[in-house]
């Protein structure tokens, strides 16, 4: 077990290094020039060259990648004398537009994204599994028809539309919910939740669709499964049989959930934009807009890291739910 986890982690490190390289290559492949955004207007070529040299973006991609990897271990120093900035190890890069190293930036934004992800994940599980289960139990009933339509809607409608609708309806028309801003949990838990209800609704609405569908299909399969009839025939009570049916539903739901949670933790660009929340998604977006290489690489790596960890946790949980996997 420990060997398995260790092996997975070593693979993960190499994977992340590869992802960093690809991100840096793609960044310059898109002919972005961080120096251009920094040197202001007007920007004479000499100034631009100076800025580029200062930001160390004038070198080849491979050299930059090497510097990046080196920075992870020993830190990185940009410029000289009065203009010198140092980024401590492990250095994921320095954001010149923000005058801060990326690690600090991510740490600043993380609480917002965490809050957003937490609520959305809980809400989408409750709604998704709840409606999925209810519609499977009363197949063809009112709840089933409603939640099937609901799921269809959630799968096909884009996030920004739902987001804008929620802002419009609950924020402006009903004046019931705040439509932007963030209050930290430690400041006031009620205000925290109050400000996040809107984005939670939006994200969980989009995500719950998948859970409704999977839960419904899986539970319907289980409920009509012969092995449950056989279990009743052995003398098991309805309760014992139902508990066994839940297990079959859990396997795909857990697999899906692990991926969704990690995606949420990596930042939800659109929902954050719509509700003016300054989380990781917003950070990434500003990084792209300002041609800020360090932010793009930093946030991408952070998301990739989360996805790898999420997958690992899912892979470790799966055999507990489905013993067949333990054997394979």
């Amino acid at each position: 077990m420990i060997v398995y986890i260790a092996r997975r982690m070593v693979t993960a490190v190499f994977m992340l290094l590869a992802i960093a390289f690809v991100t840096i290559s793609l960044f310059f492949g898109a002919s972005k020039d961080p120096a251009r955004a920094m040197c202001g207007k007007p920007c004479p070529p000499e100034t631009r060259a100076k800025v580029s040299a200062y930001m160390q973006t004038d070198q080849s991609t491979v050299w930059q990648y090497a510097e990046f990897v080196k920075g992870l271990f020993v830190g990185r120093t940009y410029g000289e004398g009065a203009q010198q900035v140092h980024c401590h190890a492990p250095c994921f890069g320095y954001s010149f537009p923000n005058r801060s190293d990326v690690t600090t930036l991510i740490a600043e934004r993380l609480p917002v994204t965490l809050s957003l992800a937490f609520g959305a994940a809980v809400l989408c599980l409750v709604v998704g599994i709840g409606f999925g289960a209810l519609s499977a139990i009363r197949k063809g009933g009112v709840v089933d028809r409603f939640s099937t339509g609901f799921a269809m809607f959630g799968l096909s409608v884009p996030t920004f539309l739902v987001g804008l609708l929620v802002v419009q309806v609950f924020g402006f028309m009903l004046n019931a919910l705040p439509y932007s801003g963030f209050v930290s949990f430690s400041e006031s838990p009620t205000d925290w939740a109050w400000h996040l209800i809107g984005p939670w609704m939006v994200l969980s609405f989009i995500l719950a669709a998948g859970y409704i569908r999977v839960t419904r299909t899986q539970l319907l399969n289980e409920l009509s499964a012969d092995h449950l009839v056989a279990m009743t025939a052995r003398g098991a009570s309805a309760r014992q049989v139902n508990r066994h049916a839940v297990r079959g539903v859990m396997v795909p739901v857990v697999a899906m959930f692990a991926l969704d949670v990690t995606a949420l933790l990596g930042g939800s660009v659109i929902a954050e934009k719509v509700f003016s929340l300054h989380g990781l998604g917003d950070l990434l977006l500003s990084g792209v807009n300002e041609s800020d290489l360090s932010i793009v690489v930093g946030v991408t790596l952070f998301s990739a890291f989360l996805i790898i960890i999420g997958n690992l946790i899912a892979d470790l949980l799966m055999p507990l739910l489905d013993p067949r996997i333990r054997r394979a």
């Binding site: 092995h227 449950l228 009839v229 056989a230 052995r234 003398g235 297990r247 079959g248 013993p323």
Partner: protein, 344 residues
């Protein structure tokens, strides 16, 4: 006469959906003693599986049963949940057609059998139940039973799985075993092994067996008595000999003629013969009116005339020469003409 292990009186099972009611089993009466095997034969939709499920009160949602079912002295139709749980798996057990879907993919073979033990005797420890499972697997002829208990259903072959299902059903020594097409999903050589095993265990445990099948080959090798169902009604009942040698219902004759035989060439003096099919399809149970349900497909209905369309034939006693047992047939014809003619 000792009390029968299974007694079914005037069983009716009906399905209701969308305000429409369909009777899938009608006025069925069966009596089965310990140590004997009754085969229930019929086409798909004739109500044989539903009959088996009704006995264990395992009917799907929307189905209801009326009449009387007594298994080992227990009234099944009036029993409450607790009593049913006690009966299921202990007094009466079931072997299913598809062994893959009858076993939970999340439990190993041993867990299935141990569960059957512990559900009926919570005082048995996990370890002891597991040991019972090993014993039982050994009894049904699974090699290396100590290893096999830890295997999962998908790691077994079809024949092995069906053996495991049998072990699971018989671990509590039920008085009645309902075997619902137990060999249909298996290939022919394995079929013979499983049938032999069932027969052997039946004798050893002295239990009664209700064998549900559509295959006269299987029936012929296992059954003592045969019940032929058509459209949920009893078409014919009798000892194996009577049914095979002196069928008294045209449907039974049709079914027999539709069974492939290895010796068919000999029968016709070396001439090649085509397998006969019963013309038409089973009547819809929804618009069942008066008259014999088989009449539209019966080659002899013309001979009898209007009576077949107007009056539902009731099972009546037929004179039997050989076995001396009860022989019932629900046909307006007292005596069938020669076999060849019936199965045109």
């Amino acid at each position: 006469m000792p009390d029968p292990v299974l007694q079914v009186e005037d069983l009716c099972v009906s399905f209701t959906s969308g305000g429409v009611t369909a009777d899938v089993v009608r006025d069925l009466s069966v009596r089965l003693d310990g140590g004997r095997t009754l085969a229930v034969v019929g086409e798909s939709g004739s109500g044989k599986t539903i009959t088996g499920r009704a006995i264990m009160r395992l009917l799907p949602r929307g189905a209801s049963a009326r009449g009387r079912i007594v298994v080992a002295g227990r009234e099944m139709l009036s029993a409450d949940e607790r009593e049913l749980r006690r009966a299921r798996g202990s007094d009466v057990a079931m072997v299913f057609q598809d062994s893959m879907s009858a076993l939970s993919p999340y439990l190993d073979i041993g867990a299935h059998i141990a569960q059957a033990v512990r559900l009926h005797d919570p005082s048995v420890t996990r370890r002891a139940a597991r040991a019972r499972a090993v014993e039982m697997l050994d009894r049904v002829g699974i090699p290396e039973p100590a290893n096999a208990v830890c295997r999962f259903p998908h790691e077994f072959s079809g024949g092995m799985r069906q053996r495991a299902v049998i072990a699971m059903a018989l671990v509590n020594r039920p008085a009645l075993l309902i075997a619902d097409e137990p060999t249909t999903a298996l290939d022919v050589t394995v079929q013979a092994q499983i049938l032999a095993l069932l027969r052997e265990l039946q004798q050893e445990y002295g239990m009664a067996m209700l064998l549900i099948s559509h295959d006269f080959g299987v029936v012929g090798s296992v059954a003592d008595d045969v019940l032929v169902l058509y459209a949920g009604r009893q078409a014919e009942y009798g000892s194996l000999r009577d049914i095979f040698d002196q069928p008294a219902h045209p449907y039974t004759v049709g079914l027999r003629a539709a069974t492939p035989r290895l010796d068919a060439r000999l029968d016709t003096g070396g001439e090649r013969t085509r397998l006969r099919a019963i013309p038409g399809a089973p009547t819809s149970l929804r618009d069942a009116g008066p008259g014999c349900a088989f009449a539209p497909r019966c080659g002899l209905a013309d001979q009898v005339g209007e009576r077949c369309v107007v009056e539902t034939p009731l099972p009546t006693v037929r004179p039997t020469s050989e076995s001396g047992g009860l022989h019932l047939a629900a046909c307006h014809l007292d005596r069938l003409p020669a076999l060849q003619e019936v199965a045109r």
